[in-house]
């Protein structure tokens, strides 16, 4: 738990056990949640050890977004009181049955009451004058309040931040406030210097050794947790796991610093990685049994005498071969699993390596196929849309990605062919081209007015839908049928429906009922290509800058 934080933790424990400063600020820009766990673990350890009496309250500034919540959580934790449902979830109210969460003043009284009850645990409060005559003096007790994610305090409770930083003077108890955050105190502190400077403890990012040690510790040690017969987590494979983890770190560390994320990827890759070795082992077991059967002339071996062939850790060159084979797989896993586009179980199931990989001679070793998991659900929804909706989505994709000026060139047809297609004489390139032209694909979809999309839809229908239409002899003028089609109410209502299912995004305000609200396309290139294939529209020819 505390790997990599040993220095800071020893610093904190020595401070707290001797003379804790009233206000400590721990700044960990890299992994504050791990630092918080380490601090909590160390406080627990201090509590177990008997030389000083310490009670601590570890609260999260996100879940305590109200001062009242903060006071309640802190006091309940310091008094070691658990609100119970049957007693009406009452908070700790001290021997005098007061409410301590009304205001800061109440909180201070609550702290004093907690300290007093701490000193005389049988529940009697001695008056202040008699405090010194107790066997337990003030110097022996410590009340520690640890607030994680302290940067939230600035937004939710900025007016009590100053009293919180001076808690010891105000309440006249032995309380220490520890704030832990990935933002430095400079950004959180109240202006005008009203809060005293804290005791700064800065924690740097975890070193490689620390991360590797954390990952190695996660290899399961107990045989009970394993599925019987499954040797994926056999203790003999532990050194291999260490090597595996260090290779994984080498591949992923430019992108990931959090050890938990690395552990997630490692957990998803390990069963696949270890599979060839286990296959090899099973092969050896089978061979051994075959050999024994031949020895005994076909007599079946007795059940009780099954020889246990040990699982041997692989040799160095086997390890190197495996690593080389699996490196592209790890990179692909990083791409998919780190942004959680898919999850570890699904990935592991989809990417089982071919059996008996190690028995294939090295020269003929193929690379392991990588199955990227695609989002099956959204594809199914797109396929099941009605035909007009598919046309609308393709038209909106074109509208979002083609600049408006190119419409005439792409879709204009008829008499003015020559007029629209002329581009003018070649212009001289200006000596300093100021702006870098970023391709439209990287800029994201553009907003388009509905009129433009309906016009593009008309062109698409006119050119691609003619074969699928029922005979309609009443429309004699070419193009009339399509015009009727695009002026139906269902086209507009379909657009509303698609924007409700977030396949189109409406960018103009919703309340206004105007002729041409603006939209943006909400599907990506691959989805659009799939739809275009469904309706037999050549999407590539219609995009201004095709991929």
């Amino acid at each position: 738990m505390e790997q990599g934080y040993e220095d800071a933790i020893s610093h904190i424990t020595s401070l707290i056990s001797t003379y804790p400063p009233p206000f400590i600020y721990i700044h960990d820009p890299a992994t504050p949640h791990l630092a918080a766990l380490a601090v909590r673990a160390s406080l627990d350890r201090l509590r177990e050890s008997s030389d000083i009496r310490i009670r601590y309250a570890a609260v999260d500034a996100i879940s305590c977004f109200n001062p009242r919540l903060l006071y309640d959580t802190v006091l309940n934790a310091l008094a070691e009181w658990e609100p119970e449902w049957d007693q009406g979830c009452s908070n700790w109210s001290g021997p005098s049955e007061q409410r301590f969460n009304e205001s800061l003043d109440g909180f201070l009284h609550g702290l004093q009451a907690v300290q007093a009850s701490f000193m005389s645990p049988n529940g009697q409060i001695d008056g202040k004058g008699k405090a010194r005559e107790n066997t337990v003096t003030d110097e022996d007790i410590r009340l520690v309040i640890l607030v994680e994610r302290a940067e939230r305090l600035k937004e939710s409770m900025h007016d009590i931040l100053v009293p919180l930083s001076r808690l010891r003077e105000l309440s006249r108890t032995e309380v220490t406030l520890i704030l832990l955050s990935d933002v430095s105190w400079e950004h959180i502190k109240p202006p005008l210097g009203a809060a005293p400077d804290p005791y700064y403890i800065d924690i740097g990012p975890l070193s490689k050794q620390a991360i590797l040690r954390r990952l190695e510790v996660l290899f399961p040690t107990f045989h009970d947790t394993q599925v019987p017969g499954d040797q994926t987590y056999d203790p003999a494979l532990r050194p291999l796991y260490a090597h595996f983890v260090s290779t994984l770190y080498g591949i992923c560390s430019p992108y990931i610093t959090d050890p938990n994320e690395l552990a997630y990827i490692a957990a998803s890759q390990w069963p696949g990685f270890v599979r060839p070795i286990l296959d090899e082992h099973e092969r050896r077991v089978d061979e051994h049994q075959q050999a024994r059967m031949e020895e005994e002339d076909g007599i079946e071996p007795h059940g009780e005498e099954e020889v246990f062939v040990e699982l041997r850790p692989p040799t160095e060159d086997v390890r190197i071969r495996l690593m080389r084979l699996f490196t592209p797989l790890i990179t692909a896993a990083l791409d998919t699993l780190y942004p959680r586009l898919s999850f570890a179980n699904a990935w592991a199931k989809a990417n089982v390596p071919p059996t008996n990989l190690l028995s294939i001679p090295p020269r003929q070793l193929p690379s392991i196929p990588i199955h990227k998991l695609e989002d099956q659900d959204s594809q199914a929804t797109l396929k099941s849309l009605p035909r007009m909706a598919k046309f609308i989505l393709v038209a909106s994709f074109i509208a979002s990605n083609n600049p408006a000026k190119t419409d005439m060139r792409m879709f204009g047809r008829g008499r003015d062919e020559r007029k629209k297609r002329r581009g003018g004489s070649p212009r001289k390139m200006s000596a300093k081209s100021t702006a870098v032209k970023i391709p439209q694909r990287q800029l994201g979809p553009m907003a388009f007015p509905l009129d433009r999309m309906v016009a593009i839809l008309g062109v698409l229908l006119e050119e691609n839908d003619a074969d699928y239409r029922p005979p309609a002899p009443e429309y004699t003028i070419p193009g009339e049928y399509t015009e009727m089609e695009i002026s139906r109410i269902t086209v507009f209502s379909q657009v509303m429906e698609l924007s409700a299912s977030h396949l189109l995004y409406r960018t103009s305000p919703h309340d206004r009922l105007e002729m041409s609200p603006t939209f943006k396309c909400g599907i990506g290139f691959d989805a659009a290509l799939g739809l275009a294939r469904d309706i037999a529209v050549p999407l590539h020819d219609l995009l201004w800058d095709p991929v």
Partner: protein, 412 residues
């Protein structure tokens, strides 16, 4: 779309989308020659006289005006209502008369009908629900309290859900596309009512873009059939919320006299609901808004000026002159409140010099009267944060009034 002549047709005819691309190919430039700068708007008297003498009103020939065609149409509509659809009427012209006739027709057959004029700017969905509640006396319904829109809707639905009653409600909503009915809460309340099999809605729409109000699933859903109480539980169709609209073209080409009765006839920006007169009367409008200049007519201004004191008239003349000086050379299209508003402190100095007001309180008292009537509007300037005042009138009207009042002073 223009039909091309034989010589011009190549392979394609010029369809609407071709026209769109052709028109948007080049950027269009709008002219600064605005119609509203050339003419003053009609006064109410002029409008009503010209309307009375107009010939065109009786000459339009559309169906649904004669009773024979109505006799053919109405049974069909009633049958469709019976089968569990709601009816939506579109088409140019006021559909109010014919819908009201339909409503009376329904009422004669012993049905409960509620007619709602949603084009009234002060109408809200709450009024509709309150009138339904009062009609059926839903107070006796247990278990549903709450006076908000959701509470009222729930009560009404609970009343209609109870299997013993055979109540049938016909809601005739004129202009279901009114702004007060477009917000989400109103829409969801209406949808809840419309999905109920005992409540039938007949609505009319006049906005061109009415198709953008509802999504496809809302238009095409079907109400759960509710002919007997047994079929409620046996219904296999899961009811999805929505209006089961059937669209009917009810073009009448009748003038929208009744619907636009609430609009300000003399405003150039039109009778649309967007220029509500209540909004124009705001004391401190947003500094960036270019409020319409014509919110105050000449007659109204004269009327107000008749009833104020001498000092107030002097103040009005003062501000009017200063404002006209500021307008003086500007083009009419560029005039807006920001450009011509007169700084309050400068006005105070000028008023003091002219012996109109001795201190700030007196000046504010005088201005307060004008502000109440809407003849003077004060606003916060965005740049300096100081208060500025201006008179919301058109230039010609202001010129005339200021001259008249000044003549009055000189004549005295």
């Amino acid at each position: 779309m223009t039909l091309p002549t034989k010589s011009q047709t190549h392979t394609f005819a010029h369809t609407a989308f071709d026209a769109y691309f052709a028109l948007n190919h080049k950027p269009s430039r709008t002219s600064n020659n605005v119609f509203s700068n050339l003419l003053t708007p009609l006064t109410t008297k002029e409008y009503s006289t010209s309307l009375a003498s107009s010939q065109n009103l009786r000459s339009s020939q559309v169906p649904w005006l004669g009773s024979s065609s109505r006799n053919q149409l109405f049974p069909r509509l009633l049958f469709e209502l019976d089968q569990g659809f709601n009816l939506l009427f579109y088409g140019a012209g006021s559909k109010r008369d014919i819908l009201n006739t339909l409503a009376t027709c329904l009422n004669e057959e012993d049905n409960d009908v509620i007619v709602v004029n949603a084009f009234n700017p002060s109408f809200t969905v709450k009024d509709l629900l309150a009138s339904v509640e009062n009609f059926f006396d839903t107070q006796s319904c247990p278990m549903t309290t709450g006076s908000g829109i959701e509470g009222q809707t729930r009560r009404i639905l609970k009343l209609f859900d109870s299997p013993d009653t055979d109540l049938d409600l016909f809601l005739v909503i004129h202009n279901i596309d009114a702004p007060s009915m477009r917000n989400i809460r109103a829409k969801s309340a209406l949808m809840a009512l419309a999905s109920h099999s005992r409540i039938h809605i007949l609505a009319s729409v006049d906005n061109i873009a009415f198709a953008d109000l509802w999504s496809l699933s809302e238009i095409f859903n079907r109400k759960p059939t509710c002919f007997s109480s047994a079929s409620i539980s046996a219904s296999t169709i899961t009811p999805s919320p929505g209006y089961a609209w059937l669209f009917h073209d009810l073009t009448t080409l009748a003038p929208y006299d009744f619907e636009t009765a609430y609009a300000d006839r003399s405003s150039i920006s039109g009778a649309s609901q967007a220029t509500k007169s209540s909004r124009a009367r705001q004391d401190i409008p947003v500094a960036g808004a270019s409020a319409t200049m014509s919110t105050m007519t000449e007659d109204a201004a004269r009327h107000i000026l008749l009833s104020v004191t001498q000092k107030a008239k002097k103040l009005f003349v003062l501000l009017g002159t200063k404002q006209l000086e500021a307008i003086g050379d500007l083009e009419p299209s560029k005039i807006d409140a920001k450009a011509i508003a007169f700084d309050y402190s400068m006005l105070f100095n000028a008023a003091r010099d002219d012996f109109v007001a001795t201190n700030d309180t007196a000046l504010r008292a005088l201005m307060g009267e004008f502000k109440d009537h809407g003849l003077m509007v004060s606003m916060m300037q965005a740049t300096t944060g100081a208060e500025a005042v201006w008179i919301p009138m058109r230039k010609e009207g202001l010129v005339k009034i200021v001259d008249d009042v000044r003549k009055e002073f000189e004549g005295m």
